[in-house]
């Protein structure tokens, strides 16, 4: 496993409280597939009412085409639990999101899709947005050493939950890891039935 989790162009989305209704609007949720959500990401911001791309929306700007790291602000992914939101972001080519904070359900959903979500202080997020004002940024993310590397030996550290780091580095199967505890699950079910038979 390479020590570089991701590297690429950074797209700065300078907004707080980006909700999952914005990330993927309801009309795309009737699908029964996990695929095909990339083009719908940020649909109402990304496309004008006539269906043409909104040239003012940052994701559409020529200098951010091909970006794989999304930089944003506080409480990203709030609202609905729809996992279609991280699917849409991932299928648009992003596998890292850096923000001041994330909504809890969105965070878990993203990790379950092997995306890296980096939470930084407001001050550090401000520093990263400042870097973006200097022109398109190419960063590398080293998950092992927990660093965002800007080139020219400049870097910024980040914290990450040890369990999540391990899962991302080893690519552990989410369900498979829990199934290791199958005997305990069976034991729990038996004692539950004995002590609280009304639970079913």
């Amino acid at each position: 496993m390479s020590k570089i989790f991701a590297q690429g162009l950074v797209c700065p989305l300078d907004k707080n409280n980006v909700d999952t209704d914005q990330i993927i609007p309801k009309q795309f949720l009737t699908s029964v597939s996990r695929e095909g959500f990339g083009q719908a990401m940020f649909f109402d911001w990304r496309y004008l009412a006539d269906g043409s791309p909104n040239p003012d929306f940052v994701i559409n700007k020529p200098e951010y085409q091909g970006a794989s790291i999304l930089l944003t602000r506080a409480n990203f992914g709030c609202g609905s639990s729809r996992e279609h939101a991280p699917w849409a972001i991932q299928q648009s080519g992003f596998n890292v999101i850096i923000a001041e904070s994330f909504a809890d359900i969105f965070f878990n959903n993203s990790v379950n899709n092997a995306m890296l979500l980096i939470q930084l202080s407001k001050t550090n997020i401000e520093l990263l947005f400042n870097r973006c004002t200097q022109g398109p940024q190419q960063w590398q993310i080293d998950l092992q050493s927990q660093e965002i590397m800007f080139g020219n030996n400049a870097a910024m550290g980040f914290n990450i939950d040890a369990d999540i780091k391990q899962r991302l580095l080893s690519g552990l199967d989410f369900i498979g890891s829990s199934e290791q505890l199958n005997p305990q699950i069976t034991d729990y079910e038996q004692s539950r039935k004995a002590s609280q038979p009304w639970l079913g």
Binding site: N16, N17, D19, D21, Q22, P25, K26, Q27, L29, T30, S31, V32, S33, R34, D44, A49, R73, A74, N75, C78, G79, S80, S81, R82, E83, P86, S101, F102, A103, D104, I105, N108, N109, N112, N113, D161, A162, D163, Q166, F174, I175, S177, S178, E179, L181, N182, Q184, I185, Y188, E189, R192, Q196, P197, W198, L199, G200
Partner: protein
């Protein structure tokens, strides 16, 4: 968590501890799930994943399904939902059939919104862990159950193992004492709490609501309160169960049977936060200071008392909040200083998992009785379930709404998120009893103002927002 009170636990900590199956690693526990509620939108990919990995549903008997998000509310038929929605509903029916999961489909008289039917059917009980692929699962916390929304990968995980990996959340106590004024409802209370804490104020926390104002609330009011806990980012909302809770559950279809009832109640009575339990954060509110609330912006923290004026962006000291307010006012078509009581409404929506229960409909009908929906206003009442609908019809509420010019619909999520054809058009202003005023949520360009059922009903009659608390006694709108 202080050492001195190592044995004292919050309600959340008690429920968490009683569900630990084992440890996955030093920080993550595997917790057992007592009830898994599923619906058509967030489950199909989970079933496909399960099949792909050759896994089975471990406990179909603890899994319950309904159709709610994208169903038509005009006609109770799978064919009325539109082509792609029909396929999704059929996929749910096929998955439930294949895995022997009970399903309240559109032919079932009790079908309805997942967070309305769970409690109605007695599936929701104190001390349980309840999950569902829907953020408003927090609703069930009203019963003292730890209930939270999950994503589709987690739905698949629960289907396969009946468990979920979790880490301990922080604890927040929201204490509300005193009496609510006339026309001030649990909806106003939770909106005021969100206004105080912000949309991210609860991130990482499980919020427990307590205090005399909470004790005085009915179960339906408590559900409204817990329902919107997610709108401040809380993982879950919780209320310790009491006699009000037990009385609500007794006799419901899936309630503990007579031979277990006393044991169940005895266990439920142990579910409270110990007197000396330490919360990571505590917030207190005086119930009597809360007035009818209305959102003016595009997230639930952009809220005010209905008699206040729309704030000026410059009044926010935080530059990001100032910027957000500016954008919100532009999207909402509002000016700083404007009174929303001068503001015309185009659409009124009474429904959603927040406010579609019988007490909500009674409150709204009380305002509507003998009056007419204002000209040019489209007004919908969408009951939360078949049971609510039948009861409202039996009590004569449906006739009150219909006589006044409201559309009386079939149960479903409807205009809360507009996954079906119930949408607000671009630029239209909607008084909505739902839970999210996000840009585009009710339809692209739709302007949503969140209010209580009584406030929504009053807006339908007046054709503009009304301060319902300012109405003289005996004259409600």
């Amino acid at each position: 968590m202080g050492q001195a009170t190592a044995n004292a636990q919050t309600l959340y900590q008690k429920i968490y501890a009683s569900h630990v199956v084992g440890k996955l690693n030093p920080s993550t526990d595997l917790l057992y799930v007592d009830r898994h509620l599923i619906h058509e939108v967030t489950s199909p990919q989970a079933f496909s994943g399960l099949k792909l990995a050759n896994r089975k549903v471990r406990r179909p008997d603890l899994t319950f399904a309904t159709m709610d998000h994208n169903v038509s509310t005009q006609r109770r038929s799978i064919d009325a939902a539109g082509e792609t929605s029909r396929k999704q509903l059929e996929a749910l029916a096929a998955n439930c059939d294949e895995n022997q999961i009970p399903l309240l489909d559109l032919t079932h008289p009790d079908q309805g919104i997942v967070h309305v039917i769970g409690p109605e059917q007695g599936l929701t009980q104190p001390g349980m862990i309840i999950v569902c692929g829907d953020s408003h699962t927090s609703t069930h916390g009203a019963f003292g159950a730890l209930a939270f929304g999950i994503g589709t990968s987690e739905v698949e995980h629960v289907l396969a193992t009946q468990t979920l990996p979790q880490q301990q959340a922080k604890t927040l106590k929201v204490e509300i004492n005193g009496e609510l004024s006339r026309h001030v409802t649990p909806k106003d209370v939770i909106m005021a709490v969100i206004g105080k804490l912000g949309t991210a104020g609860g991130n990482g926390y499980v919020a427990e609501f307590s205090g005399s104002a909470i004790r005085a609330m009915s179960m339906e009011g408590r559900m409204t309160l817990c329902n919107m806990s997610i709108e401040m980012g809380a993982k879950a909302g919780l209320i310790a169960p009491d006699d009000t809770t037990f009385a609500y559950i007794k006799g419901k279809a899936h309630a503990p049977k007579a031979e277990h009832w006393d044991d169940a109640v005895q266990y439920w009575q142990s579910l409270y936060s110990d007197a000396n339990a330490v919360f990571d954060q505590t917030v207190t509110l005086d119930a009597s200071s809360i007035t009818p609330q209305i959102t003016w912006g595009t997230n639930p923290e952009q809220v005010m008392a209905v008699d206040q004026s729309v704030p000026a962006p410059a009044s926010f000291s935080d530059p990001t909040k100032r910027d957000a307010a500016e954008r919100a006012l532009s999207y909402m078509g509002l000016e700083p200083g404007q009174k929303l009581t001068d503001c015309k409404v185009d659409v009124v929506f009474i429904g959603s998992c927040t406010n579609s229960r019988i007490e909500d409909l009674r409150a709204a009908a009380g305002v509507v009785q003998g009056k007419q929906v204002a000209a040019g206003v489209r007004a919908l009442v969408v009951p939360g379930s078949g049971m609510v609908k039948r009861q409202a019809e039996d009590e004569g509420l449906a006739s009150i709404f219909k006589d006044a010019g409201f559309e009386w619909r079939e149960p479903g999520c409807s205009m809360c998120l507009g996954m079906n054809d119930d949408r607000v058009a671009a630029g239209e202003r909607c008084a909505s009893t739902s839970n999210r005023n996000f840009e585009g949520r009710q339809g692209r360009g739709a302007r949503t103002h969140l209010v209580s059922p009584a406030m929504a009903a009053a807006a339908a009659i007046a054709g503009k927002f009304v301060n319902i608390a300012a109405q003289p006694e005996g004259e409600q709108a």
